[in-house]
């Protein structure tokens, strides 16, 4: 069957830059290790299977600059191996502990295999560098990787000083080029936070398209004739694709979304909480707090009921059923849309990458099955990347997307509310000061201490601007850590600002924070000039 339309999956892979050479005890550093084991390796393995089975598929992923810097960091790579070895040790103990319950014991073996396999894949197949794994799939044409703001700074609030969003874009593009050796065509705006003021910088740095929340398109001016089912182009020339509502709900919804199926793995039952304290103590937080270990033996089972043990096959069956449902739903949607759009409609399905595997354990397998179905079954649509769609159908309506985000209620409430509004004056002031410094001390000598200090100022500012800290404060978990990070980066920036202006740069201090906040080693502070 000829395709009547297209479906485009976009996975946003992002974690804030967390790197503590001064201590291995920061729990937050484990977010990266969990994401590698539960999301990034499973996605790569499923892409690999599709490649081996010669299934032609398309997917788009944003790999954010902080994530790329962490995946490329030797210390974090070593610590991930430590993390896996610790988990393998725990799984071996679990096999002994569960030896009298066959179902449980099978699951203990399952996790031992899984973590052992992760170690093999990470060390032996990817040589500790997962970036090259993703790059491979981009190079063979099935994956389009796009960039993101340098540290996921939220444009609708930062743009008070436009040079700060220019720098977010510039560093995002430069980081992409460093790791992938080419110019990115698209950018995932941090939190899908769109403002028209960023268009000129997006164009300046060669970016063709952005992803917006649904109302970024639907509330655009003038109203897009084809809704979210065709991209629009802003007067400045930035192309915007909008999130499809129906397909988003099918996957995201906490009430009737796929991840709530009773056969899927229950996220909240973890042996970090379920086993005897003395037994699990060596594997939880160093301060003795119980935390998730990643070893989870139960399935969702039902609401408010005793949890049944996880069954890998049942979970796969459900994933296959849901892949079928998604497939049928998109076919019906395309059938409805195709007669009424000028070009074949595009259904854009953007998700957080970490939904797949971390939150929805079976998500990567679901994608694998879905992509196989789309390839092999009689299907009225094809998978496509936004770039391919633009190249095929370059004529689109001129319209200015609506200022919007994909946060709760669609605007800036998540990143600006009474719990975190105190932060913004500091971010704005630091942004102004960074521009001031660049103008006071332009083009410093390559090896001068002042240049190093100015570059470190840029790093500290960018790290302070991460939208993650504001989100965490709003969300109410790990709040102390997020607040500390804001204080640390603003504090380090402010000290450096005065040190530079007073010509009293403390080289030991500079060296110390450069080791901790080592993101973007090639940064040039002149982006703020």
């Amino acid at each position: 069957m000829n395709e009547k339309g297209y479906v485009s999956f976009v996975l946003h892979a992002h974690l804030p830059f967390i790197h503590h050479p001064e201590s291995a005890d920061y729990l937050e550093e484990q977010w990266l290790y969990e994401a590698i084991s539960e999301t990034y390796i499973p996605l790569l393995m499923n892409f690999q299977k599709l490649e081996e089975e010669k299934v032609d598929f398309r997917i788009t992923m944003s790999l954010t600059p902080p994530l790329l810097n962490m995946l490329d960091n030797k210390l974090l790579q070593e610590r991930y191996i430590d993390y896996l070895n610790t988990h393998i040790e725990l799984c071996e103990k679990e096999i002994v502990r569960t030896k009298n319950d066959k179902r449980l014991n099978d699951l203990s073996h399952y996790y031992l295999n899984r973590y052992s396999n992760d170690l093999h894949i990470f060390k032996d197949i990817y040589n500790c560098n997962l970036i090259n794994g993703f790059k491979h799939f981009q190079d063979i044409g099935v994956l389009e990787i796009i960039t993101c703001g340098a540290t996921h700074g939220y444009f609708p609030i930062l743009y008070i000083n436009e040079k700060t969003i220019k720098a977010q874009i510039a560093v995002g593009v430069e980081t992409y080029k460093k790791y992938f050796g080419r110019q990115p065509r698209g950018i995932w705006l941090p939190e899908c936070g769109y403002i028209p003021e960023s268009d000129k910088y997006l164009k300046e740095f060669g970016l063709d398209y952005i992803i917006t929340e649904s109302h970024g398109i639907l509330y655009a001016n003038p109203t897009p004739i084809y809704g979210t089912f065709a991209p629009i182009v802003s007067p400045e020339g930035v192309i915007a694709f909008g999130r499809d509502i129906e397909s988003s709900r099918q996957v995201w919804s906490s009430i009737n979304g796929y991840p709530g199926d009773f056969n899927y793995r229950e996220f909240y039952r973890d042996i970090g909480y379920d086993t005897d304290y003395d037994y699990i103590k060596p594997y939880i937080a160093s301060n003795g707090a119980r935390v998730h270990t990643g070893i989870k033996y139960y399935r969702i089972t039902g609401k408010d009921c005793e949890k049944d043990l996880y069954n890998v096959q049942w979970a796969k069956d459900s994933a296959e059923k849901h892949a079928g449902h998604f497939f049928d739903s998109r076919q019906a949607q395309i059938n409805q849309l195709a007669p009424i759009t000028n070009n074949p409609p595009i259904v854009l399905c953007p998700y957080d990458a970490e939904l797949y595997g971390h939150w929805w354990y079976e998500g990567p397998y679901w994608l694998y099955i879905l992509f196989k179905k789309i390839y092999y079954d009689d299907c009225n649509f094809k998978l496509i990347t936004p770039s391919e769609y633009i190249d095929k159908y370059p004529t689109m309506q001129i319209s200015t997307p609506c200022r919007s985000s994909w946060g709760a209620n669609g605007y800036s409430e998540v990143w600006l509310n009474q719990s975190n509004d105190y932060v913004h004056r500091h971010l704005h002031t630091a942004g102004d000061r960074m521009v001031e410094l660049a103008n006071l001390y332009p083009n410093e000598d390559e090896n001068s201490i002042r240049r190093k200090a100015l570059n470190q100022c840029a790093r500290e500012l960018l790290l302070a601007q991460s939208s993650d800290w504001l989100f965490i404060i709003t969300n109410g978990t790990m709040v102390d850590y997020a607040k500390k990070r804001i204080k640390d980066h603003i504090g380090r920036f402010t000290k450096l600002y005065y040190d530079i202006k007073n010509d009293e740069i403390d080289t030991q201090f500079l060296e110390d924070i450069n080791e901790k906040d080592c993101i973007f080693p090639e940064i040039d502070y002149m982006i703020y000039y």
Partner: protein, 301 residues
Amino acid sequence: MPKISKEKNKGTDKEKITKITKITKSLSEKAKINKKAEKDEKTSTKKATSKTSKKTSTSKDIKDTKDTKTSAKKTTKNATTTATTTKKVSTYTEYYDLPFRYNKTLVTILAQTPNMLFIYWDVSDEDRNAYIQKYGNNFFNDTRPYLIITNTTMNYSFEVEINDFANSWYLNINDANCKYTVELVRKFITNSVETQNENSSTDDNKFEPYYTNQYVSITFSNQLETPNNHILFNELKDTVFFKNVKTNVVEEKNIYSLAFLQNIGKIYKISDFYKKIYNTDLISDEIKFNLPSSPRKGVIR
């Protein structure tokens, strides 16, 4: 009238900058680290303990060296004597508070939602002194701070009384998708003030207070455009423009000539099309924001 400088001299802000304890230590090369000792340290050290300590000292050493300079020196000694090849690094135990204020006169507006502004402000000590010098010692007692909000799109203004204990404000506004500016002013409580600065310099209005009826203008904000909050059906004209992004050729089209409006049968308006496609997700010209948000948005849990 004294010229008021907005910029403070370097380093004179009342910012609490840093409280830094400098501890110089040595770091033995990673290859020389005893794996078992490192593991023991992981479970016995606190977060603030430096990497240097973890890599080179016993748990007891770390506990001893946690807070004092003296014991830090002790660690240095231990580390340097035990390592045959050492790499000299400095490790700082840092503690920062955010600056209480930046002592700069400003007012900034941000849009939290299409109908909610967030406004923050400050008035520098230097500017405060200048106002006192000009209007007398009781200036800040005889006046009250106000925000004058101007919708420059629809050309109307309104004012909101704030207070001297606040430095930020949330403000409901009626009209989304409009440009706003805010002026921070002080309003005299009595009507006793006479216009007295007619001859004052107008070179720099931002710094030269002037009267607007009973107000002294302190400063103006950035201009902000608030987000749109509905589908602009009513503003959609018959003609729309399409652009080929490869060739940059722009084409004008009458929406009633578009194929889909002819193919669609009964439906003849864009709003009908939207209702058909987005049926339960629309209420009139607004989307129901019931789309599930990301469960994490940037953090793993």
